[in-house]
């Protein structure tokens, strides 16, 4: 859980251990990891009572494996949401990414394919960013439009799976180190890079500032447009990584690779579960990973219990709403305090 305490300040005085004495349950980042742990525990008990086995290596492997694609997308989505934007085109970008990957690998090398997918992603991210900042189209609409464009292209050119992924590249999707899938390391690496960028670089500081208050950021000299564009490109690159991973799992490209699992809305749900404010400016990658894990564990429990898929979605919905309602609570209290403080302040005789 060391990755969680990202907000720990480093003071000028003797360097405090990151997060020492600052772990608060009310911090969404801590909360979501605790919730993931709690859900795991509950799942263990329920599945055991149900006569199944939860704490098995294969089950853990499955949970991790299932976290990778959503994790990669959600980590990218965190970057745009932090910056105050949003990306609804991720699902179709994944689909197109798997198709481009598999088709390029069929005729050329793996390296070319990886570069092609990342170039495609960067281009789509750049386009999203330019539309949002340059044409000043609301991110919701801009990226929804991009989603339609990608969808149109895919549906016009593909009717089913295409291309072929060589066995060598499929190892990304299937190999393990011990019981940990190698793809998990890909997720960890991508998440670590995004964490470093958001927390430790100027770009990251400017992303938080732009998402927190774009006007204030601009008046402070932050190039807010450029920051939003970078965030979109970062997000799209993460999505590209997800597409490559899914291509290696599927062994081919598929027009439904990104849409069937609803990576667009699920990634936003994971980000929000992880405590990132949908309006931007607050939260981070660490919480998002917790959100992804929580959703995966839930899925795994439902699968073990063979729960009706409709009910599954009902529970997911309840969890997401409950989480966001919980995060909102301290703010509501603060708003009340502010009201009262204001009421007090204005009592003065001039």
């Amino acid at each position: 859980m060391t990755a969680v305490r990202t907000e720990a300040p480093v003071s000028a005085a003797p360097r405090r251990l990151p997060g020492a004495g600052r772990l608060k349950v009310t911090d969404p980042v801590v909360g979501v990891w605790l919730a993931a742990a709690a859900v795991t525990l509950i799942g263990w008990i329920v599945v055991t009572i149900d006569g199944g086995q939860f704490m098995t290596q294969s089950n853990f492997t499955g949970i991790l494996q299932n976290s990778v694609a959503l994790g990669l997308v959600a980590v990218g989505q965190s970057a745009v949401i932090l910056t105050g934007s949003l990306d609804l085109s991720v699902a179709y970008l994944i689909s197109l990414g798997t198709l481009v990957a598999a088709e390029t690998m069929e005729g050329g090398s793996v390296v070319t394919a990886v570069l092609a997918v990342l170039a495609l992603s960067a281009a789509v991210g750049l386009a999203n960013g330019l539309i949002v900042t340059g044409l000043k189209v609301n991110a919701f609409i801009a990226t929804l439009g991009m989603a339609f464009i990608l969808r149109g292209y895919i549906e016009d050119n593909y009717t089913g799976p295409a291309g072929d992924v060589p066995a060598s590249f499929q190892r990304l999707g299937y190999d393990r180190v011990g019981f940990i899938p190698v793809s998990v390391f890909l997720l960890i690496a991508v998440a670590a890079v995004l964490w470093l960028i958001t927390k430790r670089t100027r770009l990251g500081h400017h992303m938080y500032a732009t998402g927190g208050d774009e006007h204030a950021a601009r008046l402070s000299g932050v190039r807010t447009r450029r920051t939003v564009i970078y965030a979109h490109v970062l997000c799209a690159l993460c999505v590209g990584a997800a597409a490559l991973f899914l291509a290696s799992r599927l062994g081919a490209g598929a027009p439904w690779a990104g849409t069937e699992a609803r990576y667009d809305l699920d990634s936003i749900a994971a980000v929000v579960l992880g405590g990132t404010a949908l309006a931007g400016g607050r939260g981070g990658v660490a919480g998002t990973l917790g959100g992804v894990l929580l959703l995966s564990v839930l899925d795994s429990i439902f699968n073990q219990l063979s729960v009706d898929p409709f009910f599954k979605n009902v529970v997911r919905g309840v969890v997401i709403i409950a989480a966001v309602a919980l995060y909102a609570r301290p703010f509501r209290r603060r708003a009340k305090e502010r009201d009262e403080a204001r009421a007090k302040e204005k009592g003065a005789v001039a």
């Binding site: 480093v10 403080a341 009592g347």
Partner: protein, 495 residues
């Protein structure tokens, strides 16, 4: 040190500044006053690089500047403290101070350097109570303002600091601290341009006063050689004569419209109040004395939990605003923009807010036109969005909104806050007319002259209860004596 020469600026063909000139010496506090819309903020935004002037020059320490972006002005040594802070509440003090200029070491932001430098800057200003790693949202408003100032100081070698209504968000005891801070900054040779509506502050702090009116400079006065009356005359361009309309005749005061007996809640106790038709009752009190709690309780926003209350003869202890409104109680809150108006809606829609909410969507649009005339609204038509109206006209829309519901009791919380001098008089007259029409009026105001000038009697609060009552014409000293008679200490000082 700083000279602005013949600065003009137009927006959409409307000239907002007509060749205004201004100069500033090192270490001088130079006040800029004028009614709303006089061009103060525009002039300062030109100086800070937020607007490019159409004509005119800005010269700082002998160099002529033409700023096209705030960052250029900052780099040249001009800092602007906005009325609304440009801080990120969820980021730390240090992150805010160095926003856009984060020190970088080996590709990564050097937090330690950032926090060390922030601590140094804070220490230079003797502001040792603020830790660089605190989140801004956890600081009091006054300290957030200090952070804003430190941020400006960190940006460059600041020569000129522009402060736009810096005391507006502050509590009384915090104002003194700000004064001290401003004097320390001036002592360091920084020239301060100080915009304020409050003449008392202007006379407390400034060496010179420049008065703007309708985008033109009226005069630059030396503070020591002028009086508040001179300044007001220059601002308004006419003598204000008597500020306040005549009080009510005893014969005009009618039956009680609102009474409470032994009313209280967690903040109030033993409230025995009678508001009569035709009478304006003023409520005075120190900080934390419960004045705002009182109007909020009468309006049901923070209801009474004990005692009884009647409105127009019927028992009514409102549990929420809707009940109060239906009973005939209206509250004009202090926070006009936040609580009084839907800023992006039209004048007409705003005027219909209450009737639509309480009496259904029925088309009283015709009646509204009459009401807007009644309050003497000046707008470019009733389809204009209220956000574009001046503070005074916005307040008139709020009053019209309530009149549409036909209230018997009108509660005003700071009725003229953020309203310029000319419009103030109009609102005072309107309030008096409404009382004369048979409504019972209660006014809470932190401006004692206003309270004394407007009220037929003044109730003084202390410690959440009534400390006494004074007849019309009571002096400021009488009020202060009652307000401070108990050992109540201002609660706000804990903030």
């Amino acid at each position: 040190m700083l000279t602005m020469q013949d600065v003009s600026k137009s927006f959409l063909g409307v000239r907002v500044l007509h060749g205004v000139s201004l100069d500033l010496e090192p270490g001088e506090v130079h006040a800029l006053v004028g009614e709303n819309g006089a061009g103060k903020s525009t002039l300062m935004k030109v100086l800070a690089g937020e607007y490019a002037p159409d004509e005119g020059t800005i010269t700082l320490d002998g160099t002529v500047h033409a700023f096209s972006h705030p960052v250029q002005a900052q780099a040249a040594g001009i800092g602007l403290i906005h009325q609304e802070f440009a801080l990120l509440p969820h980021r730390t003090v240090a992150e805010n101070v160095f926003l856009g200029r984060e020190p970088v070491r080996r590709g990564f932001v050097d937090r330690r350097a950032m926090e060390r430098r922030t601590a140094e800057l804070l220490a230079e200003l003797d502001e040792t109570g603020i830790a660089p790693h605190t989140l801004v949202k956890d600081l009091s408003v006054a300290r957030q303002q200090t952070v804003e100032i430190v941020k400006a100081l960190a940006a460059s070698d600041v020569r000129v600091l522009v402060m736009d209504e810096p005391t507006a968000p502050l509590a009384d005891h915090e104002v003194e601290l700000l004064y001290a801070l401003i004097r320390r900054l001036a002592a360091r040779g920084i020239g301060i341009l100080y915009i304020s509506h409050r003449l008392r502050e202007v006379f407390d702090l400034s060496r010179r006063i420049t008065v703007l009116k309708d985008g033109r400079k009226v005069a630059t006065l030396t503070t020591a050689e002028t009086t508040a009356d001179d300044v007001v005359r220059a601002m308004v361009g006419r003598e204000l004569g008597s500020y306040y309309p005549p009080r009510a005749d005893p014969a005009e005061i009618g039956e009680p419209l609102l009474t409470t007996a032994g009313a209280g809640n967690e903040r109030l106790a033993g409230i025995d109040l009678t508001l009569r038709a035709g009478e304006v009752t003023g409520v005075a009190g120190l900080q934390g004395s419960g004045r705002t709690s009182l109007v909020r309780a009468l309006f049901g926003a923070a209801p009474f939990t004990r005692g009884s209350m009647t409105v127009a003869g019927r028992p009514l202890r409102p549990a929420g605003p809707r009940q109060a409104i239906r009973g005939g109680v209206a509250l004009v809150t202090e926070d006009r923009k936040g609580e009084g108006l839907a800023l992006r809606q039209s004048v007409r829609d705003n005027a219909l807010l209450v009737t639509r909410a309480v009496h259904g969507a029925g088309g009283q649009a015709g009646g509204v036109d009459g009401l807007l005339e009644r309050v003497n609204l000046r707008s470019r038509g009733h389809d204009q969005e209220v956000q574009y109206l001046s503070g005074g006209n916005q307040q008139k829309v709020v009053i019209a909104k309530w009149l549409a519901a036909g209230p018997r009791v009108l509660l005003f919380d700071e009725p003229t806050r953020g309203v310029d001098v000319g419009a103030k008089a109009a609102i005072h007259t309107l309030v008096r007319e409404l009382a004369r029409d048979g409504m019972a009026v209660l006014i809470v105001s932190s401006e004692l002259p206003e309270l004394i000038g407007m009220s037929d009697r003044i109730v003084v609060m202390a410690d959440g209860t009534f400390a006494g009552e004074l007849p019309a014409g009571a002096g400021e000293e009488d009020i202060m004596r009652l307000a401070t008679a108990s050992d109540a200490t201002p609660e706000g000082s804990a903030a």
